[in-house]
């Protein structure tokens, strides 16, 4: 009874439609950013922008952020790479950006506010920020930096009652579902 986003290995509109027909509400594209930008447009045209999430892996560098391609384990460097890529996927009809900060994945040191600010400035679609959450306060900080939604994994597995506690901490700022 909550929205499900499904992704991983999608290479065609037919596969995306199959995931939706199997019960997903949204699909997630990652590799399409590097090798099949047209797929983002196709999916947005057929499924609606609200059903198309583009996930972008980002690594921190001494000067800013690089875009990381996990399949080739390579980075695309340069200060304009991420903003340009974000603007491009938005133009193609992507309805939501999942920005995954690989450098902080599993570290529980909090999210990188400047990354969230950069993404928020680059696109006008909703942003899900992932990578680095270690405490309830980290969620609040990420929302303050401009995230529309915050994703975490490790934190929810390793802290007792983390889910209701996070909701309580956020309740005064954003509308969260009942506990």
């Amino acid at each position: 009874l909550f929205p499900v986003a499904a992704g991983g290995g999608l290479t065609s509109l037919a596969e995306a439609k199959e995931l939706i027909s199997l019960g997903a509400d949204k699909i997630v594209l990652n590799q399409a950013v590097f090798n099949n930008l047209g797929l983002i447009r196709q999916c947005a045209d057929e499924l609606g922008s609200q059903a198309v999430i583009v996930s972008i892996d980002v690594v921190e560098t001494p000067t800013g952020f690089d875009v990381y391609d996990y399949s080739s384990a390579s980075v695309r460097s340069g200060v304009t790479v991420l903003p340009e890529l974000l603007a491009n996927v938005e133009r193609l009809g992507c309805g939501e950006i999942l920005v995954n900060n690989v450098s902080r994945d599993g570290k529980r040191i909090g999210q990188n506010s400047s990354l969230i600010e950069l993404v928020a400035k680059s696109v006008s679609v909703p942003i899900i920020s992932c990578g680095g959450i270690g405490s309830r306060a980290d969620f609040v900080t990420a929302f303050q930096a401009g995230a529309t939604a915050v994703a975490a994994s490790n934190f929810f597995h390793s802290h007792e009652l983390s889910y209701p506690k996070v909701k309580k901490a956020l309740r005064s700022r954003i509308n969260v579902r009942g506990l």
Binding site: L1, P3, D25, Q50, A51, V125, A149
Partner: protein, 205 residues
């Protein structure tokens, strides 16, 4: 007569809706063609998708006539999100394409404003309900929204509930006789959504 038929709009989340109905003890069937349409007491036109392809599908599959026919006979039809928008006349999502024209309203793009990002994604409260809301719709109750377009209604009495986006009203639910359109996703809206579906099963009460 079987209870609920969910139209298999390509690219829609009909399984999610079916599963929500099963939570309230209703066995809903996904309709692949209009052939069995008459066997169902209530119809659901699901959301997720895009106005252009969905409008083509309704015309080509014959589901258009089925829905219009059910509505004319005062049988309950529920449109969810895009399904609701398809009850209307036109949409900015697909210029030149036509909806079913049951609700005399156009569908327009949401405008970004005051830090509100489009698509509108998330858990939003109903900011007002009409005089005759029914369907368990109460002011302050929250539902899940995921949309870039909204119905612009000129017929205030048909509007059952509003939500809000960027300081402007969004029609959250509308009713024309037994035809109900909702912009939110009851099947993704936790207890409030299940209560709404229960009310739909009992004719709005």
């Amino acid at each position: 007569l079987k209870k609920v038929g969910i139209i298999a709009l390509p690219g829609s989340n009909s399984i999610g809706i079916q599963s929500a109905f099963s939570r309230i003890g209703v066995k809903a069937t996904i309709l692949q063609s209009t052939q069995d349409g008459e066997m169902f007491e209530k119809l659901v036109l699901p959301g997720v998708g895009s106005f252009g392809p969905a409008s083509d599908f309704l015309q080509n599959s014959g589901f258009s006539e089925l829905i219009i026919n059910k509505h004319q006979r005062q049988l309950p039809v529920l449109g969810i999100c895009l399904g609701f928008q398809l009850f209307c006349t036109t949409s900015e999502e697909a210029h030149g394409k036509h909806g079913l024209g049951i609700i005399p309203a156009a569908v327009e793009r949401l405008q970004e404003s005051s830090g509100r990002r489009v698509p509108n994604m998330g858990w939003r409260p109903l900011t007002s309900v009409g005089a005759r809301p029914g369907y368990s719709l109460a002011e302050g109750a929250s539902f899940y929204f995921s949309h870039s377009f909204k119905v612009i209604s000129k017929s205030a009495p048909s509007v059952m509930a509003h939500s809000e986006f960027g300081g402007k009203g969004v029609v959250a639910a509308m009713g024309l006789g037994n035809l109900i359109g909702v912009q939110f996703h009851p099947e993704k809206s936790h207890d409030a959504g299940l209560e709404f579906l229960k009310a739909f099963m009992s004719g709005g009460k």
